[in-house]
Symmetry: C2
Subunit: 388 residues, 2 copies
């Protein structure tokens, strides 16, 4: 057998779902996981328990893998370079991945290649923030330019590592300055909604673009994704897809790239965040696209021809299932499955904790209102916030 | 966490694909496999290596499982009764499963409940066969009534354990009589094609029926399945589905039931074989139905509400990938995937041996000729019988 071994660093739900998508391809999947209880470690045969921050662990793991890819973006860049020096293909490679690891590097690169972003600057104290805020004032505006968004350049996600700063006084108290880490200031964009453009690119440069989706956040966490984005102008959808393909090419991304976007009140799109791995905004593809983001990520890192990204339904909705107060989600299956025989449940094998993402549901169909209602009902019923 | 543990006996591709379908449900999957190299053992986390024919092994395995189900029908009935006596739910249970294990029992039961079957009789020697053949002659027919089909009542599949007997002389030499095992004689049915009706039934009696499919055999092995069966009369499709649902109910089947059927030249359907597990004739459901046979089998054995069995495409075609002379199927991926970005490949992780089922492909679309061509091209290219 000549089937390759894909080494996945990180045992979260993205690894779990990538394994699921790799099974039909007959590829061998090897997992480096923090603990045997991690989401992916529960369902993968070949698991190494170890710390990805330790280079020796990573090197031992990589031996015998044909390619290394990731469940998350936290592996130190120098470790990835060491693996490449050992002759192991790392996909995405460190030169690409750094743009998803470091928001400062990402913004500088997007500026360089002319990609529209929110106004931004690296800041080191409250005075910098106040100056940055004031520069955003329109002529004749007598305010102070606040609010401003502060982000740690490394390590943030799902609203973590992000602060909403209302005033210079707020800025003086801002947590990241006290921690002494590099901080990125960004304008608070006047957006009408958030979009995401998901693309996949292979080492020899083939790329596919999924339909641009709308992503709805609640309390800074993705709540609902609608594919395609309802009512989006053809021109804007095309522009978003082309932008994501261009970023993937210019940054040398291999594998899945999610480009999170703001759609502004005046009809422009601005890049919010980048993720170089399968992404929450692409989970709908498992049941709604001809080829899922997970299957295409596997194909890309193996430099296989990519699968068709087109939708299979008029509308697909993904709703995240967050942990509620009631730990037993399995008993909710009876009602959810009986109510909606078309419902697609995707659970991650995680212990339920309030607010923790423990799964998602997908629904699809011709009537968006119906598809949304079914997804929200199931996600709410599983969480325990809907009881009938 | 209250998610149940499903114990799967047997490590073949059906177990592999059931595991794949169980991952999104968050259920825990435990496998009893002959070897660590078995198809499912390659991809499952919790694997026990052991012999299912040994009761102690089976009992040890079953401890901690919430339900036991099967990749194959070879577990001895008395072992299943012992597990039930230990308090472990076995699904399908031994009283149902015996009808898929023993063709004599199956025929007697189907006769009893009035299900149309080929003319048949248990025979013990060549004279019995000649008498059985002669009884099938139409009035005034001066032939000898041959050919006749002989089948061992236990252990046959995919053309194994089946003999085509052309004459009394043939019968005298027939292998099963020499082996001294019970033998079933059946008329050679004048059929126009083979159909399969796949249904799934849960312990509390819910059942769903998939569209009736056409199954095309080559050399006694399933080659292609077309869903739904092209040109089938509405009345006949309904009759086949109702027949399968009735068999599932009367035999007390829990889980997936495949009813293999002959469509006769005079427009009747006769039951050929039964299988009580996910079945080759249902593999198309992975990509062609709202809920796959594997997902519904898991839901059934857990007594969860069943998923929608309706098709997602006008036509779906499954073509089996058999081993050819060339052991490296992975390198064929490049051409197959580039030629058809919509192609769905399902490989089983098995070593390639000539004629061995090592995978299948699914294709779907609106144009049956195109869907068939794509499936046959991919299956042939992977096997090595098509080279461009």
């Amino acid at each position: 057998m000549t089937f390759p071994v894909v080494g996945m660093v990180g045992g979260g739900q993205l690894a779990r779902m990538t394994h699921e998508a790799g099974i039909p391809l007959g590829i061998k999947f090897k997992l480096l996981s923090d603990t045997p209880q991690d989401s992916a470690a529960q369902v993968v045969s070949d698991v190494v328990i170890g710390d990805y921050r330790d280079l020796d662990t990573l090197r031992d793991f990589a031996r015998g893998c044909d390619v290394i890819t990731f469940d998350h973006e936290h592996v130190p860049t120098e470790h990835l370079r060491a693996l490449e020096a050992d002759g192991i293909p790392v996909r995405p490679g460190p030169d690409a991945l750094v743009h998803a690891q470091d928001k400062g590097v990402m913004r500088a690169k997007l500026d360089e290649i002319g990609v529209p972003c929110p106004r931004h600057r690296i800041v080191s104290d409250a005075d910098d923030v106040a100056a940055f805020a004031a520069e955003g004032l329109a002529e004749g505006d007598e305010g102070d330019g606040f609010p401003v968004i502060l982000k740690t350049v490394r390590g943030g996600y799902d609203g973590k590592g992000v602060w909403f700063i209302r005033s210079a006084a707020d800025a003086a108290l801002a947590e990241p300055f006290r921690a002494g880490v590099p901080v990125l200031a960004e304008e608070k964009v006047d957006f009408v909604r958030e979009l995401a453009a998901n693309v996949v690119r292979s080492p020899h440069g083939q790329a596919v673009a999924y339909p641009v989706v709308e992503s709805r956040q609640v309390d800074g966490v993705c709540d609902t994704v609608i594919a395609p984005a309802p009512g989006i102008a053809d021109g804007l959808a095309l522009q978003a897809g082309e932008l994501a393909l261009r970023i993937a090419k210019e940054l040398g991304v291999v594998g899945h790239l999610a480009v999170e976007l703001f759609e502004t009140r005046d009809g422009r799109i601005l890049v919010n965040e980048l993720a170089m791995r399968p992404h929450n905004s692409g989970h709908w593809t498992q049941d709604g696209a001809i080829t899922s983001q997970f299957a295409n990520h596997v194909r890309a890192v193996l430099d296989l021809p990519l699968g068709d990204p087109r939708p299979r339904a008029k509308w697909t909705v993904m709703a995240n299932v967050l942990g509620g107060d009631y730990p037993d989600m399995y008993s909710a299956y009876l009602h959810c499955m009986a109510r909606d025989p078309q419902l697609k449940i995707h659970m991650y094998g995680k212990d339920v904790k309030p607010g923790r993402k423990v799964g998602h549901v997908n629904t699809y169909g011709d009537d968006l209102d119906d598809v949304l209602e079914r997804a929200h009902h199931a996600a709410g019923y599983l969480r325990g916030t809907i009881t009938e």
